[in-house]
Symmetry: C3
Subunit: 139 residues, 3 copies
């Protein structure tokens, strides 16, 4: 079985945001799969998707603060500067973190670890809604 | 054909460890696939999976030393500190490296390059066994 | 439907290079898929694949400059030095960026965002041709 759906995520402030429930709620068909994979792909170059700790919001805050150190604004060698100070760091973070995740499906559920959740990583200061292509396959 | 299996990896010391053989040995069914994909997913937020050089152990040592620079302990802006100095850097490394890998299967074998191997990246000082969900599909 | 093909990419200078068209041209079968996934996997440990901005070449230049800061040559703790100053940073960049990407297929086309393209990230100073295993599946 293959199913593909375009999902729209509400605009979020710059930072790391848990979206596990928001994504799964839009894919009720995954309950019918005994075994499979869910692929989520964000169609942008200044946001990204990761899987990390789903409980303590300070983890998401520390992520934002640390990725701002790894990809700081205003590096003297940046030439791509006309879209704002936050733009080139956003592209770098997107490549460091990645634009897709594949998650196993087991017995009708995403088989994440107990402490894992899916994050939208929003790297722009003033972001619009973001589009994800979700592709579900399995049997 | 779909096959999914939960694999338990022995506890490892903090660092980067080759696990290609340990994982493949637990998936004898992949020998029957002419073409396919193996997806390996680690169900943790303080460990990760990557593919890199499979021969010289100094590569794995240098990886550990360099990721300790990229995500150092004791950053003054860390708020998530109650699980130990190594915990927040472990979460960051997990997102930098990623929790899953997909590997092509060709003629009954994982089609890695000559110098490639699968690594478990253990980011905690005192880790327990780690769980991987392996999902095999193909024909 | 499954299809797998080994693609050879022309040697490139060190840096980030758009290869979307070069890859798709070698996979005409994807036009026949209504829904699916394209998995591209580079069989090397000193090059990588990412998806990022497809328009302004300064983005690719800034990427190269910034990853040279994130994984600099000549770190005093590097022990794996006998293959050249650029070798260990290349391994680190490969793990930071990743060796594979999965891209949704929709109505016979790769369903990238408007501004997204596939990059070959070449991390060696004097690289040879690079091999990618492309795996296409869908219906």
């Amino acid at each position: 079985m293959w199913l593909q759906r375009e999902l729209t995520l509400n605009p979020q402030r710059r930072g790391f945001h848990l979206i596990t429930d928001e994504v799964i709620a839009q894919l009720p068909e995954l309950r019918s799969l005994n075994v499979g994979l869910l692929h989520v792909f964000i169609q942008h170059t200044s946001a990204s998707l990761t899987i990390n700790e789903n409980a303590d919001p300070t983890v998401r805050g520390d992520m934002e603060r640390h990725f701002n150190v790894l990809a700081p604004e205003g590096a003297p060698y940046f030439q791509h500067t006309y879209e704002g100070e936050d733009d080139m760091p956003a592209h770098i973070k997107s490549t460091l973190i990645g634009v897709s995740q594949s998650i196993p499906i087991t017995n009708g559920r995403v088989n994440l670890g107990l402490w894992q959740g899916l994050y939208l990583c929003e790297h722009r200061d003033h972001a619009s809604a973001r589009t994800i292509i979700a592709t579900l396959q399995g049997e």
